[in-house]
Amino acid sequence: MTLDTRPAPMGVDERRDGAGATMRLVTVSPMLDGPERAVNGDAPGLRFAPEEVVFELDRLSCYYGDVRVVRDVSLQVPSRAITAIIGPSGSGKSTLLRSLNRMNDLVDGARITGAIRYHGVDLYADGVDPVEVRRRIGMVFQKPNPFPKSIYDNVAFGPRVAGFRGDMDELVERSLRRAALWDEVKDKLRTPGTALSGGQQQRLCIARAIAVEPDVILMDEPCSALDPIATLRIEELMRELAESYTIVIVTHNMQQAARASDSTAFLTMGEDRAGYLVEMAPTKDLFTRPANRLTEDYITGRFG
């Protein structure tokens, strides 16, 4: 392990130490061993065994009206791992992410061409219900956006609309525990979620996302509004969640991608102002020996 996944989180969270993270990264890594790196041609993406692929993007282009913001992206997202999408502003990272759970359906004029296959099923095929898609593919947003309701109701809303009939108290506790927030809020579940600190709010949003037992969690720059300590806590949490969930994270922060992800896709903006995929590789490869000059320029700070 050449990558330092968590630089000195001393005193941040004493229940977990650096060794644990290294162990986890080792356990996650086998599926990344021996990928073909397609650096030439029109589809620079990692190849995974079919059963490990959650998303397969096939020449995905995204448009707002007539403006193309993502161009011909083909890549695969592996199961139970963290896939980071990095790139400069305007490279279409968020748009790409939001097309994965059809969140962009809510934007007037947003549409795609190409295909997004989720476990082999075309997400944009006729008869696919975006509500069902979003229930399985949850989302955590850039700015923490808890409902102005109690902590309890924030977590319970998703299960309620999904028709959950079991023990709600137990589900809320379990979700908050998995989001590493339970100990801080267990005595004030009735207070508004908006009264928490920024980092706590974001963990509440993660608890809310996992309460509906999704398959995938999409994270759109989840730490950009947080301080460094809160950021590290979220990253630790992501590593834990990656044991049960597939995580796709968009981040501006290259250190974050390097620390927390298993594979990384680098997008940049072309001359037509549409974002395209430059390369995708296991994170340690992409950051230590990038195959493309553009990637190298970006990660060494000569671009952007």
């Binding site: 969140m103 809510l106 007037d108 509500v131 229930r135 989302m139 102005p148 809303f157 609309v161």
Partner: protein, 306 residues
């Protein structure tokens, strides 16, 4: 030594530049003018209120309860406003029942369901225009549609329907503004855990927008309560009559309202009627100020900062 001289010179130079150029007379004049315009508008209001209250004093001081509880009369010393109060309440209730569900429903559709097309924008713009149409035009509409075409005659129901069409655009606009104040991030949060559009609206958007909707609604009801001209068009009785009915009777019979009575009494030359009119204005203003105060309190207490 040289350095100290240099510092001294700099200090004198800076002091010279920073010195005040005397009083800024232009600034003072502008401030004075602005204050004057504020005082002028306030003065008009104060004079108006004081004049009305003084004129109303003979009635309100001598027989306040009798004034509120008696029917109209040809004898000023016995005249009261009970029919007008009942009529105004009836008309306002009709407005509540018709304009609120329609207006809020239309606003939810436009804000949450309608795509942002050319047609939707055209409709939005024209709802704003409708809110600016003179009230008398709504009176003509009520007369042509509700009184004549639908054959509902000169009843409080027609008055209420007419005022409902008058305040409908206002209800739509204020509700749309309250809905659009709920951040997109909140909607996305609800959609993100698998809520449908209606679940998102019912559980989040409408509850968070409710204080704003309520405030706008109260203000539009106050507007309906004080409206006169359209009711004169659709047959509110601007005269004396003896019939006193419960609100539900008024729905299908002759009716009058507070502002109509004020208009009626203002037409008499006798000083007694001027006092009656002033007293009715005080009651009318009291109700409207109370409604506006309620709206302001609600807004301040429940309005959310996002």
């Amino acid at each position: 030594m040289a350095a100290r001289d240099q510092a001294q010179r700099t200090r004198e130079l800076v002091a010279g530049r920073l010195r005040s150029g005397g009083t800024d007379w232009r600034g003072v004049a502008i401030e004075g003018l602005l204050l004057l315009s504020l005082l002028a508008s306030l003065a008009v209001l104060v004079v108006l209120l004081a004049d009305t209250v003084v004129k109303a004093l003979p009635v309100l001081a001598d027989r306040p309860l009798e004034f509120l509880g008696s029917p109209l009369s040809a004898r000023p010393e016995r005249a009261g406003i009970v029919q007008a109060v009942i009529g105004s309440v009836t008309v306002t209730l009709v407005v509540v029942v018709i304009a609120l569900p329609l207006g809020i429903g239309a606003a939810v559709y436009l804000e949450e369901y309608a795509r942002d097309t050319r047609w939707a924008r055209l409709i939005r713009t024209n709802i704003r225009n409708l809110a600016g149409v003179p009230a008398i035009v709504y009176g003509l509409l009520g007369l042509a549609v509700f009184s004549t075409a639908l054959g509902l005659g000169s009843t409080a129901l027609v008055g209420g329907l007419t005022l409902a069409t008058l305040v409908l655009p206002i209800v739509v606009i204020t509700t749309m503004e309250a809905l659009s104040a709920v951040p997109v991030a909140i909607r996305e949060a609800a959609y993100g855990v698998g809520a449908t559009r209606w679940e998102t609206i019912r559980s989040h958007v409408l509850p968070y927008a409710a204080p704003g909707i309520l405030t706008g609604t109260i203000l539009s009801l106050a507007r309906a309560f004080g409206e006169t001209a359209p009711l004169l068009m659709v047959g509110a009785i601007a005269g004396t009559f003896s019939f006193v009915g419960a609100p539900w009777d008024q729905l299908v019979a002759g009716y009058t309202t507070l502002p109509t009575i004020v208009f009626h009494w203002a037409g008499y030359p006798q000083a007694d009627y001027r006092a009656l009119g002033a007293a009715a204005i005080v009651v009318l203003l009291g109700v409207i100020l109370l409604a506006n105060a309620t709206a302001i309190v609600l807004r301040n207490r429940y309005d959310r900062r996002w």
